[in-house]
């Protein structure tokens, strides 16, 4: 039994289904990457796991954490788990910190909530945490306000806050997307190292396969609110079966300088992600897919084979080296 099991998770806004029948699990200490374009339902899935869906959104199915169904749990119980055993890092470090409170205060907040730290003790702990996330002068930064920090520094502060109570799993929702390219690497390395040191599980949401493949053990690809493919990083990278994963991989690879030939067009996925409710019937990807067949008007069943799952009527069977395709 896994630490975090998502079973038939559905998120809907009234009659509109936004996330449909999502299934995956995260073992203790495992790092799972959740990838897909914007609008694929990745963030909604994470928020549903945390029980933080916005007004008007409802979740059904099961989110089992340590064999306890979080969706059925009381808000009180969820408050106990959030921050202490399940932590979350948000995409926008600019807005995820309260502008009126000092960094040290906010980094130590989780300890005050869950471990009854006094203000003074949490302040001290915050300084140590800031040192762990590579702040050169943690005492000075602890006294600063969020607007005095750069984006990368703020995201490191958020990471410090997330690890403060030794959570068993961290959900990181595109933690590097809003940052300058130059600091993305540093924040990612830091997250990688801390998750390693803490031995906690990680659910890393990203739209960049390159990021996920470096940090994670397993990859779950989402499109249109559905899981289309999942498997180990090696399996997915070397041999993507779903045309969407393959296309994502091609766009991601092309950005790395060494592998893209000069003069070639940047590979892209034709079309755009439709807005919720505008996805075609059946396979949500079929109208952007170059392999769509007649069967695609029906929703493909999710087939499980060893450690992989796949939902596609016409998968990429042969080993087609994606980088070759990009050239």
């Amino acid at each position: 039994m896994s630490l975090l099991e998502v079973r038939n998770l559905n998120v809907s806004s009234g009659a509109l289904s936004l996330v449909g029948d999502v299934n995956f699990e995260v073992d203790a200490g495992e790092r799972v990457g959740l990838i897909g374009e914007s609008g694929s339902g990745k963030s909604l899935t994470a928020l549903a796991i945390m029980g933080l869906l916005g007004e008007g959104l409802s979740a059904s199915g099961e989110v089992r954490f340590d064999n306890e169904d979080l969706l059925a749990a009381s808000e009180r119980r969820r408050c106990e788990l959030r921050g202490s055993r399940i932590a979350m890092i948000f995409q926008e470090p600019m807005s995820a910190l309260n502008p009126t409170r000092r960094i040290g205060d906010q980094v130590g907040e989780t300890l005050r909530i869950h471990q009854n730290f006094s203000r003074r003790a949490s302040e001290k702990a915050a300084i140590e945490l800031l040192a762990r996330v590579e702040f050169a002068e943690p005492e000075r930064y602890a006294r600063m306000y969020p607007h005095e920090l750069s984006g990368g520094q703020r995201q490191r502060a958020m990471i410090a806050s997330a690890i403060s109570c030794d959570p068993e799993v961290i959900l990181a929702d595109e933690p590097t997307t809003a940052l300058d390219v130059t600091v993305q690497r540093r924040v990612l390395d830091l997250l990688d190292r801390l998750v390693d040191e803490e031995g906690c599980a990680l659910l890393l949401i990203a739209h960049d396969l390159a990021v996920v493949s470096e940090v994670c053990d397993r990859v779950v690809t989402m499109y249109g609110g559905h899981v289309v493919e999942s498997g180990s990083v090696a399996q997915i990278i070397d041999e993507p079966h779903h045309p969407y994963t393959k296309a994502l991989l091609a766009t991601s690879r092309a950005l790395s300088v060494t592998e893209s030939a000069s003069g070639a067009d940047l590979p892209s996925i034709p079309g755009t992600v439709p807005s919720a409710g505008q996805f075609p019937r059946g396979c949500p990807f079929r109208d952007r897919c170059d392999r769509s067949v007649e069967a695609c008007v029906e929703m493909p069943p999710t087939l499980t084979e060893d450690t992989r799952t796949l939902a596609c009527w016409n998968p990429v069977e042969r080993v087609e080296r994606v980088s070759d395709g990009a050239r």
Partner: protein, 302 residues
Amino acid sequence: MSDLAAGTTGRGALDDLAALDASAARDTRAWRRWLRNPNSLIGGVIVLLVVASALTSLFWTPYNPLAVDPAHALAGPSLHHLLGTDEYGRDVFSRLMASSQIALFVGALSVLIATVIGIPAGLLAAQRPGAIGQVVLRLADILYGFPALLAAIVLAAAFGASKTTVVLAIGISYIPVFIRVTRSNALVVLNSEYVLAARAYGRRPLAILRRHVVPNIATTIIAQMSLLFSLTVLAEAALDFLGLGTAAPAASWGTMLQSSQNYLGNDALLTVWPSLAIVICVLGFSLLGDGIGELRDARSRH
């Protein structure tokens, strides 16, 4: 894959430099910004003057504001009576000073009533947008549709004209204003990422209101309080003018204005002084409110 963002480690020094720059900005003291803003500066000075005159009048005025002196009735401004005397020979300047007490007293109490009820109700409406919030908002609408003047007339009819009547009428009629201001500002904060983050830390709803919502909307509320205070002064004068508030011998700007209208032909200045006092006081509090609002906006631009 590792070549994607390679060569970008060791950026700590640059990060730290950016932060140093920002911390210099914090050294701009709050009071200097306060003095540099004409609204908050002028408004602040006027409010201080009004408060000072009210406090002084508690134990000293040039003349007893109630002392009648028929020999010097309707005397114009002179060195003895700075602003002249009224129809009973009472010193106008002393009466103006004494009146500021009533204006501030009524203003403070009615704003207090409006905030003590309006702010929690607004927070409740923001926190629970469902049925409870709707009920609160509809109640606010009902109150809103009931003009302060009408409420004062009803209260005066039921309990007699008094300061309490004025305070209750104005206070209650401003409750919906605070409900709306509090709710709309609280909603912005409640929908912010940092409240989502605080919920992800495991904060309970009440603690989120206390720790995140209230501190972030406090400046807006204070600005609104100052603005409403100015309206309260105006409303108090109006109610007194109509004879629904402060009873006869006691001095208030509204009653002074009311009695002066009988002597417009003899001494028009009698009308000018209380009017001027009302205008200046109202102006002071509304400038102060505007100024606080602008200072807040300047700060939030960071």
